[in-house]
Amino acid sequence: MASFELLTPATVDAAIATLRAIEPARRVVLAGGTDLLLDIDDGRAAPSQVISLRRLPWRTLDWVEGSLTVGSTLALRSLEKEPEVARRYPALAQAVRAVGSVALRHSATLGGNLARAAPASDLIPVLLVLDAEVELVGPTGSRSLSVDRFLVASRRTAIAPDELIRAIRFPEPRPSAYLWQRVRRVHDISQLAIAVAWSPDRKTWRVAVGGIPPRSVLLPEVAAALGGERPGSSELHTARARASRAVALVADRRASEEYRRQLVGVLLERAVRSALGGGAAG
């Protein structure tokens, strides 16, 4: 006897109707499954219905006027193989490659990663600094939310019980970088990660930190300290100092607070330099 029933609605409307028909506590939504199924195995999730998005037409990748929209069920591996992603959103390409392994990325999706809102997600810090918008679809239509507003806490998002993530939309391409520290460089969970991006439109930096509980966060005061497009050494110095105070760098099994404090400044400076094309900043 199966522990849950698998539902595979064929249309978006059917999927929404299925969501509405089942009590939220009793069902979960399945995209790639690489995180969800582990929770089911460990008993952290015990749904009676699993709603698969496999048949929905959301494995898409679209460029509109040079900006990217990624369908929520597109495999990360497909995103990684699109050469323009690395050119226009370098941090996104770097972060996607930081996730798991090739086989895992053939299943895992951007939508699933966002919906699961894992505190150690490698993608979320990058979505934050790229000002990605989450397109949600529900019974009364669609709405958009910034990723920052979408994320509420560790494993908690602002999605309504009868909504699904349809796509993630990225605004204008940005010089950007994602750097992380791990015990193992690959196939591991980051002890600390930094994403940075320069917005040519807004003429501001965006900085986010990841890899620490409870969730990845934007650090606006650090971004502000970086100033203009080519921060000098004094701006970098100030930004580093602010970064080490800007967020509660809690200790856990993966790293101590002091070590994270050391990392946050080092990775910030390196990420900014990397975003600027490796050229000397300052």
Partner: protein, 733 residues
């Protein structure tokens, strides 16, 4: 030439090799263990009823044992299920079986276990905060105590130019064989039968028979293909429970550990604390005191062995005029200590070699020269008075020194090159036998081991048989039998397989030649060869097909000869032993390694850019297999050096029981090493071969530690050398 350098390549690449995990049988039940929820406590009650109530479930606990086992069963040396004291978290308390895997897991979860938790002893150092005093060894928490002394230690320290004192700490590490422990058991007509993924079918038979109180003759153990052992599959683990469930249900029962249980229940190397005090006089080692606290977990199988053998590696392969060593095995609420590829020797070498570097730096002597000045040469004495040699370590050190000088000339800032040494011994003393069957067209080597992956059985024994008989490898087959059919062997461990079974093959070959000589009435030595597809015996100008030399009763079996090797060599000077057991070496196997690392000073990340091993092998039996052993051991050692660490909570719960949190090296972290096999210093194996399964892992953590220090100045005294520890040692935190 064989089509592949691996005789088992084709079957494994086709996905056709059946491992313990792959076994099934008609009517089979799936087993699962009910395990302790706490690391220490009293078992108040164990209620199997809720499991019994589920469809098709069989559940057994301590109360069921009398009805399942012979009444004559004596008091076993260890309990099958504890009835009062819980010794470690996840200790098996009961077992269940059900028609499906999910059903077995539900049944295990349904068993009601009530325990009174007690504070667990987890941290090795908390028992003796001030280090064990004179009375400590009478503590019930001291599982083993060894003490040896030689020379005028006090005098040497009194008159020393310099004394260097240091403390090192090493972490628990897991074997991480990719295949979990798994077996399939049945009990029929009084015969208990288990097919299992094991390094030692006969060891499992002895173990299980004594635990269950059944005669060895009524228990048949058959090995399967083994998905990695590394010491973790030497003793029984799942087999007794599977057999009991089979007995209780009357059905075949499969019992496999989940990978989580593999980490939680597996027996392996546990943490240790090592203290050195070294006296130096006129640039030379004058005396050393070594004290060891080894975490024994809830028991220390082969009690003194772990302490009394390991301690040798803390004195190292160096001339030490005076020494005193003391080792304690401490009981904690963890699973029992168990063997892990060269048990505890890599940790000892890390501590000792790092300490030697510190000593050399303290007296401003080049570390390589300091090692060269003290390393054993043939004829030297070990600290326990055993004569050294033949030993290729000095040759390996010279070659490593040459290479390190070349690499040092090429490195940039943030990079460093380190050298460290290790040694080991071929454990041929543990006995083994083989049966040769010489048939008209092939020579069958019948023995009791399955190939665990090292190549020692399928490639190694075939190469020995080819060399001993003069027959080409394609004429030789390595046959395996279960414990009711195969000659006895003690197991694939201790770098002993080629050594012991190889010597047995050489002995059996001599017997074959003698028999053939009698039948040929030969006056000259008899050789074997191949003529037109048939094996022939050759003496002088006579060439006779084996077919013509077989007696009628040998048509099926071929000409049968047996060989055995039980020899134990070497002895120590017992007058140097104060208390406990110390062990001699069978032979001396040296390893010198060179690593080049690049260290990111700001994050502490270490990249191993180049690695080379100079390995004393006695004589090469099979070059590709030998190289593969060295390559694999280096990667495993890099894990011990840099990323692997079992972490227990204060309550004694393993906090990282999975491959995402317990990090073994991936392909990207391991450079392809340069491997040089050094011949000319014969060992205890056939033709002078030395065992190779374990030696090449021993110097790895030490070599990395020395290289990291060369690169950065960071002197890390703890394993693993995590990035955080390196940054801490650089005083950036």
């Amino acid at each position: 030439m064989r089509p592949s350098v691996r005789p088992d390549a084709a079957v494994k690449l086709a996905g056709k090799a059946a491992y313990g995990m792959d076994l099934d049988a008609p009517g089979m039940l799936w087993g699962a263990l009910v395990t302790a929820p706490v690391a220490r406590g009293r078992l108040r009650s164990l209620d199997l009823e809720p499991a019994h109530d589920l469809p098709g479930v069989v559940a057994i606990g301590p109360d069921d044992l009398p009805s399942l086992l012979p009444p004559s069963r004596g008091e076993p040396d260890r309990a099958i299920f504890p009835t009062e004291e819980i010794a470690y978290c996840r200790q098996p308390l009961a077992a269940v079986a059900a028609p499906t895997w999910a059903g077995a897991r539900r049944a295990a979860a349904a068993v009601r276990v009530v325990v009174d938790a007690e504070p667990a002893l987890v941290d090795l150092e908390s028992l003796f905060p001030e280090w064990p005093g004179p009375d400590a060894r009478r503590s019930p928490n001291v599982l083993a105590y060894v003490h040896a002394k030689h020379g005028d230690v006090e005098g040497a320290f009194r008159t020393a130019d310099r004394v260097v004192e240091e403390t090192y700490r090493t972490a628990g590490v897991h074997q991480v064989a990719l295949e979990p422990h798994a077996c399939l058991a049945s009990v029929e007509d009084g015969v208990w039968r288990v097919r299992t993924s094991t390094q030692s079918p006969f060891g499992v038979r002895e173990d299980v028979a004594s635990l269950l109180g059944i005669p060895e003759s009524s228990l048949v153990v058959e090995g399967t293909w083994v998905g990695g052992g590394f010491g973790g599959k030497g003793a029984s683990l799942v087999e007794p429970y599977a057999l009991l469930l089979a007995r209780a249900s009357g059905r075949p029962v499969r019992l496999a550990l989940s990978y989580r249980e593999e980490f939680e229940l597996g027996r392996t190397t546990l943490p240790a604390v090592i203290r050195f005090s070294t006296a130096v006089k006129e640039g030379r080692l004058a005396a050393r005191r070594v004290r060891l606290l080894l975490d024994g977990g809830s028991s220390l199988p082969g009690r003194d062995f772990a302490t009394g053998y390991a301690i040798n590696f803390l004195l190292g392969p160096y001339r030490t005029p005076a020494f005193e060593v003391e080792g304690y095995g401490i009981r904690t609420n963890k699973p029992p200590f168990g063997p892990h590829r060269a048990p505890f020797a890599p940790q000892c070498a890390f501590a000792l070699e790092s300490h030697l570097d510190e000593v050399a730096r303290a007296i401003e002597v080049d570390p390589w020269a300091f090692r060269a000045a003290h390393v054993w040469r043939d004829g030297d004495e070990t600290p326990l008075g055993q004569r050294v040699g033949p030993f290729g370590l000095r040759a390996a050190l010279d070659a490593a020194g040459e290479l390190a000088r070349r690499w040092r000339a090429e490195i940039g800032p943030g990079e460093g090159v380190g050298i460290a040494l290790g040694f080991w011994s071929t454990n041929t003393g543990a006995g083994g036998e083989v049966r040769l069957e010489l048939a008209p067209t092939e020579l069958r080597v019948v023995q009791g081991e399955r190939e665990i992956g090292s190549g020692s059985v399928l490639a190694g024994l075939a190469a020995v048989a080819a060399r001993a008989t003069g027959l080409p490898p394609e004429r030789i087959s390595i046959d395996y039998g279960d414990t009711s059919r195969a000659p006895f062997d003690s197991g694939v461990y201790g770098s002993r397989t080629v050594g012991a079974l190889g010597r047995a093959i050489v002995e059996a070959t001599a017997s074959v030649r003698r028999t053939l000589a009698e039948r040929l009435r030969a006056t000259e030595p008899v050789h074997l060869g191949v003529d037109g597809g048939e094996i022939v015996a050759i003496t002088g100008t006579v060439r006779r097909p084996i077919r013509e030399l077989l007696r009628p009763e040998e048509r099926e079996s071929g000409l049968v000869a047996t060989g055995q090797h039980y020899a134990r060599t070497g002895s120590i000077d017992e007058s140097r032993v104060v208390e406990g057991a110390f062990y001699p070496f069978t032979d001396f196997t040296g390893s010198a390694h060179v690593a080049q690392v690049a260290v990111d000073r700001d994050t502490g990340s270490v990249t191993v850019t180049r690695y080379a091993a100079f390995q004393d092998v006695g004589v090469v039996i099979d070059r590709e297999t030998a190289r593969a052993q060295v390559e694999g051991a280096i990667a495993m050692g890099l894990g011990t050096a840099l990323t692997e660490e079992a972490i227990w909570s204060e309550e004694g719960r393993l906090e990282n029981p999975g491959l995402l949190d317990y990090r073994i090296p991936t392909l990207g972290e391991v450079p392809v090493p340069e491997v040089t096999l050094i011949e000319g210093y014969p060992g205890a194996g056939p033709f002078g071969a030395k065992g190779l399964g374990e030696p090449p892992i021993i110097p790895v953590p030490a070599t990395i530690a020395v290289a990291v220090r060369e690169a950065t100045g960071a002197h890390v005294t703890e394993l693993p050398l995590s990035a955080e520890r390196i940054v801490r040692a650089l005083k950036l935190l």
